[in-house]
């Protein structure tokens, strides 16, 4: 995994995690809310059903009160009357009353007349609940609710039923009525289904937002990456080519100078020495003069080497310091071109890293070359100042500037290739190179930060 991929992953991962976390939180909270809503709704429904049941039961009790209250414990006629009343009472398609003796014998069950007279104490519902036993128990306790499964008359389907049972203790009877809860359950289930659907919808929505966002981030990242890499590649290629070109040019120049200059001189000297040897052997009187000429040739070669070596790197920079090297450069320049140079510099040396010194020297060299070629100037000033913040070199000429197209009132980064190279040299040390140009002349300003300064101690100064 490359750094680029890591960065991309770092950008995408938190996004995904954040979206997932928010979705999860919102979902769980809304689910809780909906669940408690549904539970409340269910409870309210049940409460309403209970009240309804109580009302029905009271209705039935008051319907039979006239007979029951007056009857004795074994009044068969009264019992018949009460059974008749209960059989006739109904509400809605599924509302009816039932009655059992405490021993489980069925007395009233309008939807299932075949039950009447049978003992159903052992009857269980589909969940294994002894419903008759439980109902009788509620009745004996003074009345209570019991929930069980029972066929619904209108549909014939087994359904949840909530019944209220009261006791007619005088007769040992349990009287009850019940409502079916399938509607409540159905509504709750519907609400639950709604909830699930809404959660699903939320997830789909989140996915619809997240996926494009992640893909967007990803694609943007990749695109940026590609663009940047392509740019960097082409820049690098250009730079490499420039370095190679310069290097080749330099090499062929040095090769030419070595071959055409020094090599030829040395070959000449060799011939001269050969000649001198023969003359000496023959005792010719001018052998000495020939050797002298050979020595002259070697001196020529030495001078040539000195020139080439100086062109490659001015040793003066190391031996005498930047200021002296710049002075030599300025002298050379003014002798060659006739342009007057004023040099003002600091009195001390060994201030900077050798590399920074070289860079500054090359900048001055390039500036002189440019002035000679383009500026048409009569006077150049080279000013070096040192301050607490670093070193500054100003090269100003009174030439024609860059012309209208290049006029720059303020210092700006240069545009030409040569100066841009110099700018890169300065930038390498955290410095800057700027140019200001007007029809009255051009000023080049090179600045290096304090970081290129060497620590100044007497020892360090002496050891440079």
């Amino acid at each position: 995994m490359t750094l680029r991929h890591q960065i991309l992953a770092l950008a995408v991962l938190p996004l995904v995690i954040a979206i997932l976390a928010i979705t999860g939180l919102v979902t769980s909270q809304s689910t809780d809310l909906a669940r408690s809503g549904i539970a409340t709704f269910e409870q309210n429904m049940l409460k309403a059903k209970e009240i309804e049941l109580l009302n029905y039961t009271n209705l039935a009790l008051s319907a039979i009160a006239g007979v029951y209250d007056k009857a004795g414990p074994d009044d068969a006629a009264a019992k018949r009357d009460v059974i008749a009343i209960l059989n006739s009472l109904s509400y809605g398609p599924d509302g009816y009353f039932f009655a059992y003796e405490y021993d489980g014998t069925n007395l009233v069950l309008p939807p299932l007349p075949s039950f009447v007279g049978g003992n159903w104490l052992d009857l269980t519902d589909s969940d294994g609940d002894f419903l008759i036993v439980n109902l009788i128990a509620r009745a004996r306790e003074g009345g209570g609710l019991h929930r069980y499964k029972w066929p619904k008359p209108s549909t014939g389907q087994i359904a949840d039923k909530l019944s209220y049972a009261v006791g007619l203790d005088k007769w040992g009877w349990m009287l009850g009525t019940g409502v079916y809860l399938d509607d409540v359950i159905g509504q709750t289930a519907a609400a639950n289904a709604d909830l699930k659907a809404s959660i699903d919808r939320t997830f789909v929505l989140v996915a619809m937002i997240t996926v494009p966002a992640v893909i967007g981030v990803f694609l943007t990242g990749i695109l940026l990456n590609l663009r940047e890499r392509r740019l960097a590649d082409s820049k690098l290629k250009e730079l490499t080519q420039r370095i190679i070109d310069t290097q080749e040019e330099e090499r062929s120049r040095i090769a030419r100078e070595l071959h055409d200059g020094i090599s030829q001189i040395l070959v000449g000297v060799r011939y001269l020495l050969d000649l001198a040897k023969r003359k000496a052997r023959d005792g010719a009187p001018d052998a000495l003069a020939t050797i002298e000429r050979g020595a002259d040739g070697i001196n020529g070669a030495i001078k040539e080497v000195r020139r080439i070596s100086h062109d490659l790197r001015p040793g003066m920079l190391d031996d005498l310091g930047l200021t002296a090297a710049l002075e030599a450069l300025a002298n050379n320049f003014s002798e060659r071109t006739g342009i007057k140079v004023v040099l003002k510099s600091v009195a001390f040396r060994n201030l900077m890293l050798p590399e920074a010194k070289t860079a500054l020297y090359r900048v001055a060299q390039e500036a002189f070359t440019n002035i000679e070629r383009h500026a048409n100037a009569t006077e150049v000033s080279l000013l070096i100042t040192s301050a607490r913040s670093g070193l500054q070199m100003l090269v100003s000429d009174n030439g024609c500037g860059f012309g209208d197209a290049g006029a720059m009132e303020e210092f700006r980064p240069p545009r030409g290739l040569g100066l841009r190279n110099m700018q890169e040299r300065m930038a390498h040390f955290g410095g800057q190179l700027e140019v200001r140009s007007s029809p009255d002349g051009t000023t080049l300003r090179a600045r290096l930060p304090k970081s290129v300064y060497l620590t100044q101690t007497p020892q360090a100064v002496e050891h440079q």
Binding site: R306, A324, N331, V342, A347, R349, N350, Q456, P458, V461
Partner: protein
């Protein structure tokens, strides 16, 4: 030993071939005695203490301690010894800097042996000598108008110490020179920089970024 007394010469060059060549050539002259050959300036300083040469003939470009800085040290430690620079460089800046540091002569390495001998003779006699090419360079006034007076390495070291609040005595002890020499340096520094007071020197050093920790 020949009559009159031979000129005692110490040759210093970090190139063994050059050193040997010069030594061999000089030894063919009767009035010149090569009392030593050193391949570094520090070795030469030590050797000079033992051999008391009249003339030290020294290359400029040497590792460790370069020839110019060595000239200053020789002037301090062996004031009677005359210094003759022997160099590959014919630039005016080399020559003028050598003179500034206290050399009495400057010869190019590629001149004839007889010229080197002439230089040694002239310098030993208390004069100065600059080889033909060099004198041309010196005479040909620089077309560049130079508006600064460079300090020597020693002067720069003294400036740093003084700017750091050291007394003449401290400076003398640190650099292992006499207080008198320090005073001379101090005077020269003030003259070159155009500064009258020691406080001024300190301010100059701070303003030019020579001392002070802040970046």
């Amino acid at each position: 030993m020949s009559q009159p007394r031979a000129i005692k010469v110490l040759v210093v060059d970090d190139h063994p071939l050059v050193l040997e060549g010069i030594r061999a050539v000089l030894e063919t002259y009767d009035h010149i005695e090569v009392v030593g050959a050193a391949s570094s300036a520090r070795a030469a300083l030590t050797l000079a203490g033992r051999t008391a040469p009249d003339v030290v003939m020294m290359d400029i470009n040497m590792p460790d301690l370069n020839g110019l800085d060595a000239v200053e040290l020789f002037r301090e430690q062996h004031p009677a010894t005359r210094l003759l620079m022997l160099s590959m460089h014919d630039s005016r800046e080399y020559i003028s800097t050598s003179v500034m540091y206290g050399a009495s002569g400057y010869v190019l390495k590629d001149v004839s042996t007889s010229e080197i001998v002439a230089a040694i003779e002239a310098v030993a006699a208390g004069g100065t000598y600059f080889s033909a090419g060099v004198s041309d360079a010196l005479l040909q006034r620089g077309t560049t108008q130079k508006e600064y007076r460079p300090l020597t390495t020693r002067e720069q070291a003294v400036l740093l110490l003084l700017a750091n609040g050291k007394s003449n005595k401290d400076v003398a002890r640190t650099l292992d020179i006499s207080a008198r020499t320090v005073e001379t340096h101090r005077k020269n520094i003030k003259k070159k920089l155009g500064i009258a007071t020691t406080a001024g020197l300190t301010r100059y050093a701070i303003e030019n970024g020579l001392i002070g920790q802040e970046n």
